[in-house]
Subunit: 166 residues, 2 copies
């Protein structure tokens, strides 16, 4: 452990105090889903016929191969990390609520990500942390949501707040 | 598309009618998380310092390298597919609620999975489908939950129900 009790807060990243409800962060790039990438991910983590092959069942709600919902979630989490979670002093997620898939993601589809701060409050048990909840939207470049979820996050508090406030 | 309107329901898999609230399905194997696997997954989808390296920040709630929560979710979804989603005529998930991480997953940790049916009801818009919600628990072999979530799923209805009932 590097813990020594006197470490300076990480000032390269945004702290709890730097964030306000309504703040928005957008990924600076997009990701395009390839057929091979969709099939490889599904083979590892979600091996269902409609994520592995075009030859889907008659009753399937999908017309041909679609990406696993976990795949779009993971790829968009990478973009959300670049846009937000990696730019703040993020201490981990307590959980995720309301993970929803709004449209199928198919080979050739392109997504980007927007993150919005929807709630924040200090931790009562640890003055070095605050709770920050954010809504993540994985969307087409035209702004149509494909996958959305809310992260219940913990973010480090800044110097004075972390040692003396409240 | 293979759709021809006369296809026989997939009788190799459990249908909507075969499932009852309270039914439980357990994975027949475990997965052990390696340091390399944890770091590789995080580098792709969740590149945070505490998922990539042991040298974590002083304020981090984690003591050393921990797996991304998305990683434990994905690995346990693979086990849940073997135990349940791949054994039923699954038509996809409408969403996931209450994704929660209860303990850190570290290199060398082993998880298995249990799935329990918690709700079912026919689709009003499509007689070929029913809604089935299941709780998934990724847990240690001793039964301590590490990650839990609820899948809001759709499952194919059987022959007579799918063509004539209600």
């Amino acid at each position: 452990m590097t813990s020594n009790g006197t470490e300076t807060p990480d000032t390269d990243r945004l702290m709890y105090e730097d964030l306000a409800v309504g703040d928005r962060f957008e990924a600076e790039r997009t990701v395009t889903f390839s057929r091979e990438g969709i099939v490889d991910f599904a083979a590892d983590y979600d091996p269902q016929p409609f994520h592995l092959d075009d030859d889907v069942d008659d009753a399937s709600p999908f017309d041909g191969l679609v990406a696993s919902g976990l795949h779009s979630y993971c790829v968009c989490n990478r973009l959300a990390t670049e846009a937000f979670f990696g730019r703040v002093a993020f201490l981990g997620g307590r959980g995720v609520d309301d993970l929803r898939w709004h449209r199928p993601v198919k080979p050739g589809d392109t997504l980007t990500v927007a993150v919005e701060v929807v709630d924040k409050r200090p931790s009562e048990s640890d003055p070095r942390r605050g709770y920050v909840d954010v809504d993540v939207t994985g969307q087409t470049p035209e702004g149509d949501a494909a996958v959305t979820w809310r992260v219940l996050g913990m973010i480090q508090r800044g110097g004075s707040a972390a040692t003396s406030e409240e």
